[in-house]
């Protein structure tokens, strides 16, 4: 997956023995297509856990969901959802800025995105600490922690990718040409996926 964020070099001109440049048989570039396919496979990983979730909730059909003494902090998670969703806008702002050559805007956007993402994770860990049930409490606890934890792991990975982009942005990389800011665009696509996935998790686990 990381490789999808990287410019892969082909053929160095002037070198007598390098490989020839590959023909570009599609308008989409390798990195973007790579991350999109990776997201397809991530969606299916979530699909496996959602399948489990709906089996435990709909097929097993327990008397109450969440089971009786347990409650989910819907408003807190709602605020957290708003935080994560707003980070999608900041990362888009970073991308649009570097497209216009606005380096300061890109740095600001990336940094804000990173902080919002980290806040989301922090609040979620805090929520775990105060929920009052653990992953060992009934299948409800197990699948709740599995699904939200799986998503949390993806936020973490997304944050790592954003850190790489932020470090590079502050060290003077990236430029307005489409090929020169793939390192911002590709983690951005992944970050949007993490956001959208959270909305689905939030709706199915907290609201439905």
């Amino acid at each position: 997956m990381e490789s999808a964020t990287l410019p892969i070099e082909h053929g160095h001109h002037g070198e007598p023995h390098g490989p020839p440049d590959a023909n570009e048989s599609s308008r989409i570039d390798k990195q973007t297509l790579g991350i999109l396919l990776f997201i397809v496979s991530e969606v299916m990983l979530f699909g496996a856990f959602f399948a489990s979730y709906f089996f435990l909730r709909v097929v097993v059909d327990p008397a109450a969901w969440p089971p009786h003494p347990y409650e989910l902090p819907v408003p807190v998670a709602g605020v957290n959802t708003a935080i994560l969703v707003s980070s999608s806008f900041t990362v888009h702002y970073a991308l649009e800025s570097i497209r216009c050559g606005n380096r300061q805007g890109m740095k600001l956007g990336l940094l804000l995105t990173w902080i919002l993402g980290a806040t989301f994770l922090f609040i979620q860990i805090n929520e775990y600490a105060h929920l009052g049930f653990s992953a060992r409490d009934l299948s409800f606890g197990s699948i709740f922690y599995s699904l939200t934890g799986l998503h949390g792991a993806h936020v973490f990975v997304g944050l790592m990718l954003l850190s790489f982009a932020t470090i590079r942005a502050f060290r003077g990389h990236f430029g307005p040409d489409a090929k020169d800011h793939l390192g911002v665009e590709v983690p951005g696509i992944y970050w949007h996926f993490v956001d959208v996935m959270w909305i689905i998790v939030y709706v199915s686990v907290y609201i439905l």
């Binding site: 892969i8 570009e24 299916m44 856990f49 590079r168």
Partner: protein, 634 residues
């Protein structure tokens, strides 16, 4: 010494593995100490101080071996150094044991590693057959037997059949589409190096207390959630093998979509490329499901969650649904690349264009789509929703249609062809058609709910699966290895030994697996080391054929090794094939091409006067330039 530690390679890899293991061990122990728990948890499903190091040691090895060096530099924001191609291509045999980004090197690495595990898994099969030669328990006890058949299946599926196809395609596919390498060469190398780690985890589970995993390759919950430590080795090995196969599939898809030579439209791609395109679609979208299923089992085992614990509201059947949602597409992951190989071999050695080329490609896509809708036919007796049975039966029967299209198209290709039966690859291809058809028909039988209920968990299932996987997939693998051996090694193999290997394998396969249909119909259960004495004679005969089948593989091994070293030099195009990989030298130049070839026609125009598939650099000024290809671009 210090230099060896700094340089990516085996020394740093070993240190990385040690560091990873030590870190994982320390992490578990110190966390348990802080929480006031006993330091070592040795219930049979627990052992966190073993399982966590098992995750981190392979990652440490990969990091030390140099799989992440370039990316870490990139992530840290260091300026990119121009690639000096020092990690590309093999100049001596030692380069095959390094982190290498050349798709040709990686292809060979894949093929050799997977064949190593093929022979390990084969030895296990020999032990299984030795035990089953007579009723009663003679050689291994019941627990070891369970471990043996589970490990045999897992090695053959996850570290032989699935990745060996990735290996063959890795070598051939970029050449076929006129690309200088894969789209992501470093990811490609990483995918390969995860594979032996998976294999080591599977085999290493024999060292675990309680023995190797013994819940079958399916690892059904709750059998797996309560099994001894070895089961965790399986859960983790599947993650590494799965990650490797997802990354490779992603790489194939991007390569095929973005790096085809000018003029190579989708309808001019060789069918092997089509086959790998469809397989990769399956892998990318289905493999995460087995990753999910194994994560859940691991959670239940290690963290004591209740996903599959009925008493706490868990659902046992959900494991089977999630597992088969991957594992049914997986049988096509193990078959479609073989279909591609057979198309190449048959067209080339029958000297005829593929009959119904477009329908062949569309049939592949049809199989991809349908294969997602048949998973529950593995669960007719599992106690799942009864309303799901008939729809699954219908889709199962439906999926035989695109497969039948392929069989008849191969027959149409052979019809009035000039069939080269002296070539071992063609022999395997012809035998494949017959054997696979039989396996396919028993598959259609199994799709019928009543028959399936009658023969569930009998040797009929074993017969079916080996007819399609051994008589199907493995025959195509042999066909592919013989077909491209001259291209990969630059040497010719010995056709006489090849024919010995072929006839031995064919007779061994039929002798071993045909009688299993009958004893299965009569009710001999699978996965048991002892059986009713009425099946004794059949089993003795099966075992004899199985030993012959195993022994004859040594002829193959001898042929490959000796021919690679001493065989006569191979010409660039010994089979007079059209596709691009045969237009470059054998073995191909280190960067495949000086200039990307231009594609001007279909790949199978055998016997068509003046037809060309591709024009290589420096030739054919008289041939009209190909129109630039944008077909299929996104």
């Amino acid at each position: 010494m210090l230099a060896a530690i700094k340089r990516p390679g085996w020394t740093r890899g070993a240190l990385g593995a040690l560091a990873g293991a030590a870190f994982g061990f320390g992490l578990v122990i110190s966390l348990r100490a802080i929480s006031g728990l006993p330091l070592y948890q040795t219930e049979q499903t627990g052992y966190p101080h073993v399982v966590v190091p098992l995750i981190l040691a392979p990652l440490g090895f990969l990091a030390g071996f140099g799989c992440f060096d370039y990316w870490l530099r990139w992530a840290a924001g260091a300026p990119t150094i121009p690639d000096d191609h020092s990690q590309h291509g093999a100049r001596s045999w030692k380069d095959y044991f390094r982190f290498n980004t050349d798709h040709k090197v990686i292809g060979i690495q894949y093929i050799c590693t997977t064949f190593f595990f093929f022979f390990v898994g084969g030895l296990m099969a020999m032990l299984i057959r030795a035990e089953l030669a007579q009723p009663g328990t003679q050689i291994v006890d019941a627990a070891t037997y369970n471990s043996l058949f589970s490990t045999h299946a897992v090695l053959m599926i996850f570290v032989f059949v699935i990745p060996v196809f990735a290996g063959i395609a890795n070598y051939v596919l970029p050449l076929m589409i006129g690309a200088p390498d894969m789209a992501f060469p470093r990811l490609n190398a990483l995918s390969f190096w995860m594979l032996p780690l998976a294999g080591i985890l599977f085999v290493g589970s024999f060292l675990a207390p309680g023995g190797a995993f013994d819940a079958g390759w399916t690892g059904y919950a709750p059998l797996s959630t309560g099994a001894p430590l070895g089961q965790s080795f399986f859960n983790l090995g599947v993650q590494f093998a799965g990650a490797s196969s997802i990354a490779t599939a992603l790489n194939f898809l991007v390569t095929i979509i973005t790096m085809r030579a000018p003029g190579m439209t989708f309808w001019r791609m060789p069918l092997l490329v089509w086959a790998n395109l469809s397989t990769s679609l399956l892998v990318v979208a289905a493999t995460p499901f087995i990753a999910g299923a194994q994560f859940m089992v691991l959670f239940d085992r290690l963290l004591h969650t209740n996903l599959f614990q009925f008493a706490s509201g868990g659902d046992v059947i959900s494991y089977q649904h999630i597992f088969w949602f991957y594992s049914h597409p997986a049988v096509y992951i193990m078959m479609l690349p073989g279909f591609g190989i057979i198309s190449e071999v048959i067209s080339t050695h029958a000297r005829k264009p593929i009959f119904g080329y477009r329908l062949m490609a569309l049939a592949l896509i049809g199989i991809v789509v349908l294969s997602y809708s048949v998973w529950a036919h593995h669960m007719f007796v599992a106690g799942m929703f009864s309303w799901l049975r008939v729809p699954m039966m219908l889709t199962t029967l439906l999926i035989a249609v695109p497969t039948g299209i392929k069989i008849f198209s191969w027959l149409g290709t052979l019809y009035f062809g000039k069939i080269h039966t002296y070539s071992t690859s063609m022999l395997f291809a012809l035998a494949f058609i017959v054997t696979f058809t039989i396996g396919g028909i028993s598959g259609v039988m199994l799709g019928m709910v009543p028959i399936d209920i009658h023969v569930s968990d009998t040797y009929f299932i074993v017969a079916h699966i080996h007819f399609v996987l051994f008589g199907g997939s493995v025959f195509t693998i042999f066909a592919g290895i013989y077909h491209w051996f001259p291209k990969m090694t630059g040497r010719m193999y010995d056709e006489k030994l090849g024919r010995v290997h072929f006839w031995g394998t064919l007779i061994g396969t039929w002798g071993t697996f045909i009688p299993m249909h009958w004893i299965g119909m009569d009710g001999m259960p699978r996965r048991v080391e002892d059986y009713a004495s009425q099946f004794g004679n059949w089993n003795l005969m099966i075992s004899c054929f199985a030993f012959m089948l195993g022994a004859i593989q040594l002829v193959f091994l001898y042929n490959m090794i000796v021919s690679w070293r001493f065989g006569p030099k191979a010409p660039a195009n010994p089979w007079r094939a059209n596709s691009i990989e045969w237009q470059v030298s054998s073995p191909p130049p280190i960067f495949n091409f000086d200039e990307i070839p231009r594609v001007v026609g279909g790949p199978y125009e055998y016997g068509v006067p003046g037809a060309r598939h591709a024009i290589m650099a420096g030739e054919g000024a008289d041939v009209p330039a190909a129109e630039p290809s944008v077909v299929g671009s996104a």
